[in-house]
Amino acid sequence: MRILTPIIISALMVSTAYAQDAAPEAEVLHWFTTGAAAAALGEISQDYQEAGGVWIDNAVASGEAARAVGFNRMVGGQPPSAMMLNVGRQTDDLIDQGLLAPIDEAADASGWNQNAVAAVKEAVTRNGHIYGAPTNVNGQNWLFYNKELFERVGAPVPDTWENFWIALDKLKAEGITALAVGAQPWQLSMMFNHTLAGLGGHDLYLKVFADRDVEAIKSPEFREVVDAMVKMRDYQDPGSPNREWNIAANMLITGNAAIQIHGDWSQAEFDAADWDGYGCLIGTGDKSFIMGGDMFVFPKLSDNASEERKLGQQLLAQVMLSADTQVSYNKNKSSVPSRTDAKFEIVDRCKAQALSAMADPSLTLPADGMLLLPDTVGALMELEGELWAGTVSVDDFVTRFANAIEYAD
């Protein structure tokens, strides 16, 4: 009996120790290390912990570095539970190689499947399975303008292309820098897509990027878009090459420039600087809303991964896709949830435009990254950078653009 008691007690201790280890855990790899983005991600982490999960944070400072770490670990067989990516075709190779786990059950259980924004759901579905959990939808073709400068010169609101050119001329006549441009290829590419959707129209945009129609690219309508882009060069200031996007946004805040054509994260800059004097428009001309987004993918864990990790992954997907989490994540950023039934209490005038555009499928467009591989997107960005620098003629631009699209994978 004297020997039996310690044996029974230690057996009980060991068994309870095993039972306590069953909490689902997830290691999350991301690049949201600053300000509003980190706060937003903190909301997801909080919700996950409230649902009983253990959040293991793995933050890497830059998007490229984070993606590189994630891909390397997947190849090496020690993947994180979840990895941040942009919604789009960055995942094609991974899915083809069988490296990602589908999250169909979590999408159903959280109700996301039934309420997702159509274009976003299509972007994360392959072979009938859902491979990514989009946390938001951000708009990429916003036009922000400094209302005070516009009033000063009597410029019309640039909601049509005629008004846009009138406004630019009036601003330039008064010696004001009309366009705040950060002439880096990725920013110029967003400006080009904004012009393609707004001036070329919803259908031309889809013909070019979704249908890969070379005739559409060689059409006079497309050429008109390229000419408009070239004409916009005359309204920038000389310091635009290699300027960062937030410096360009700051030019609006300080009144040094009047218009910035950029994504909705510029609005977060204005809000962070407590500046309210901006007007916002989705596109100019055609009101289509170009949508991109952030999402998490869930690499297939190795067979000897613990139960906690496997449970943790599915729980995390479910939490990320739930309506409440999507609302609390997006209230800190200037983007909107990826499901149509997630309601905000307070909606500012810009988000209101975004939400009403997203409710109408004929007004939404997927970002180029959702339709093309990063390689093609990068080639087009490079080309648009050359166009802006004036080192390629309009004819050569059209030819090389058509080539890139035609031979895209």
Binding site: F71, D93, P238, G239, G378, G390
Partner: protein, 302 residues
């Protein structure tokens, strides 16, 4: 006596040969094997993940059709030649100037060597702000009422590369100065006196007597500069981001973008292999002339 002549040389110093084994392993495994693997990947269709699907020369065909690649090669050639020549010449002039036994020699040496202590990212950013037409020198001349004196070389595609070269020369000429100053100090002071006695002008003295004496050091400095020039990346990224357009694109940046951003590992591997070939093409003849050829008449080997 006879036995030591017939014994093979690598058994003579077993201890030191054993000690060199880790270095050999690093060389063969870390450098050799990873270079071999990269060359292999350049013959596959790898995109974001390395895959072993052999596609022959497809990546190379695509590579040579890319304007960005041919521009990058042209740019790196212009950049290397001008920045190395500029650093050597400016470094030599600075060394000669300091060697004149001026008063505050330590202060000047520090000032000229200081840029070398800065990272290239910091150098790039500083030059970017200085050469920004709206912020830097251009703003200063405008505020002083001289708008005709514009400094827009950085934002024009034709002249941006020269700003990058200038920043590089600014960074490395102090380093060349330090090396050559050491060499100048090693030159016999009597040579200078003898030259003056003979009435040889100073320029000819430096050109025909001093520079040949410093030959070994100049070559050493040139080698180090060449290594830095071939792999220039952070300076370009910070200063121009490769732009405007493709004006300052360089191979290292080309490769990095395809490796990470554009998910084309095959392309990056192909470009890296070409860079390796170019470097070998330049380095091998030099190595031959320096180390393999029989010693010259002065009995020196290198």
């Amino acid at each position: 006596m006879a036995s030591s002549l017939t014994r093979p040389s690598y058994f003579r110093n077993i201890a030191s040969n054993l000690a060199a084994i880790p270095a050999w392993l690093v060389l063969l495994v870390a450098y050799g094997a990873s270079m071999g693997w990269t060359i292999w990947i350049s013959f596959t269709s790898s995109r974001v993940m390395p895959v072993n699907e052999f596609v022959g020369l497809q990546q190379y065909e695509r590579l040579w059709g890319e304007l960005a690649w041919t521009t990058a090669l042209t740019n790196i050639f212009i950049y290397s030649v001008l920045s190395i020549a500029g650093s050597l010449i400016l470094g030599f002039l600075l060394a000669v100037a300091i060697d004149q036994r001026i008063r505050a020699e330590g202060v000047f040496r520090t000032i000229f060597l200081y840029p070398y202590a800065m990272s290239l990212i910091v150098t790039g950013l500083a030059w970017k702000w200085i050469m920004d037409p709206t912020l830097g020198l251009g703003k200063v001349t405008r505020d002083f009422g001289m708008p005709w004196l514009s400094f827009d070389w950085l934002v024009k595609p034709d002249t941006a590369i020269y700003v990058v070269i200038a920043a590089a020369i600014w960074q490395t000429s102090g380093f060349v100065m330090a090396i050559l100053l050491a060499g100048l100090r090693g030159i016999d002071g009597d040579l200078m006196k003898a030259a003056r006695l003979d009435g040889i002008p100073l320029i000819r003295f430096y050109l025909y007597i001093v520079i040949p004496e410093l030959r070994a050091l100049i070559v050493a400095a040139a080698v180090l500069l060449t290594i830095g020039a071939a792999k220039v990346y952070d300076l370009v990224v910070a200063l121009t981001g490769g732009g405007p357009g493709l004006a300052t694109e360089v191979p290292a940046r080309f490769i990095m973008i395809r490796l990470f951003l554009r998910q084309s590992i095959g392309q990056a591997a192909a470009a890296s292999t070409i860079m390796l070939l170019i470097v070998l093409l330049i380095a091998l003849p030099w190595v031959y002339f320096q180390y393999v050829r029989t010693p010259n008449s002065r009995g020196e080997k290198s």
